[in-house]
Symmetry: C2
Subunit: 147 residues, 2 copies
């Protein structure tokens, strides 16, 4: 398998960014969009996607990465405030072998709670959309209250 | 458990950054230091640390994060070139519950190879230092040849 490949504009995140597919939006600014993961590994599992096209970290411009990680921090602070987890995992997969399933660069923000196992990526069940929308609203509110 | 806490200047990465503890250095610039993980989850497992003090992503200045992720990209390109993995996982843990063991912000770059399981964080064995130094040299050479 290869980490590399051409960017395909028909991937689901590209469709979401173009408004052609639905999502549970937690945050948006000029640079990034944050949405709830449809197959959450824990409650509050959020994804941060740069708006510009890039397959993964390796083929994405450094300035886009810089703005993306600033977005990750902002959304992580919102997730922390909204869910009060005991820990937060940030992860980003490059290539199918690494666990990447959508080939538009994205960062996972995954809350961790004491004594609560978390589901392996790709093995988690699809979440109820109403639940995800409520979580997204909770995170959005927490982010808007950040100083 | 809490994600938050005061930065402790006696952590091992702070000592390495001050030159008070040894490491297997793969890359260094004004902003970041990249070293081999002593308990690698796969061959080529590298850590990127910002030089400025921060416990994790949540308490680190956005501009420091921006420079750190640029360093992560550079080192990841070096790891890709040096080890030709099938995938690359970037991960960053916040809080002990999330798997953080050293409380100075760092990003893991973990190569993934087809049909090769990888060791869980914290369960991997300590690697031979000669092997790590050779890997660090290989990555350093690959980074210096990047255009």
């Amino acid at each position: 398998m290869s980490i590399r490949g051409a960017y395909q504009a028909d991937n689901i995140f590209a469709k979401i960014l173009r408004g052609e597919a639905p999502c549970c939006k937690a945050y948006e600014d000029d640079q990034v969009l944050a949405i709830m993961d449809m197959f959450p590994q824990a409650p509050g599992h959020t994804l941060v996607l740069p708006k510009s096209a890039g397959r993964n970290l390796l083929d994405t411009d450094s300035d886009v990465l810089a703005e993306a990680i600033k977005g990750v921090k902002k959304v992580a602070l919102g997730v922390e405030k909204a869910f009060a987890p005991d820990g937060l995992i940030i992860t980003q997969f490059n290539g199918e072998t690494a666990g990447q399933t959508v080939f538009h660069l994205h960062f996972h923000i995954i809350p961790r709670f004491e004594h609560q196992p978390f589901d392996r990526h790709g093995l988690a069940q699809q979440a109820d959309k109403e639940v995800l929308h409520a979580q997204a609203a909770k995170i959005a509110k927490a982010i808007s209250a950040l100083v």
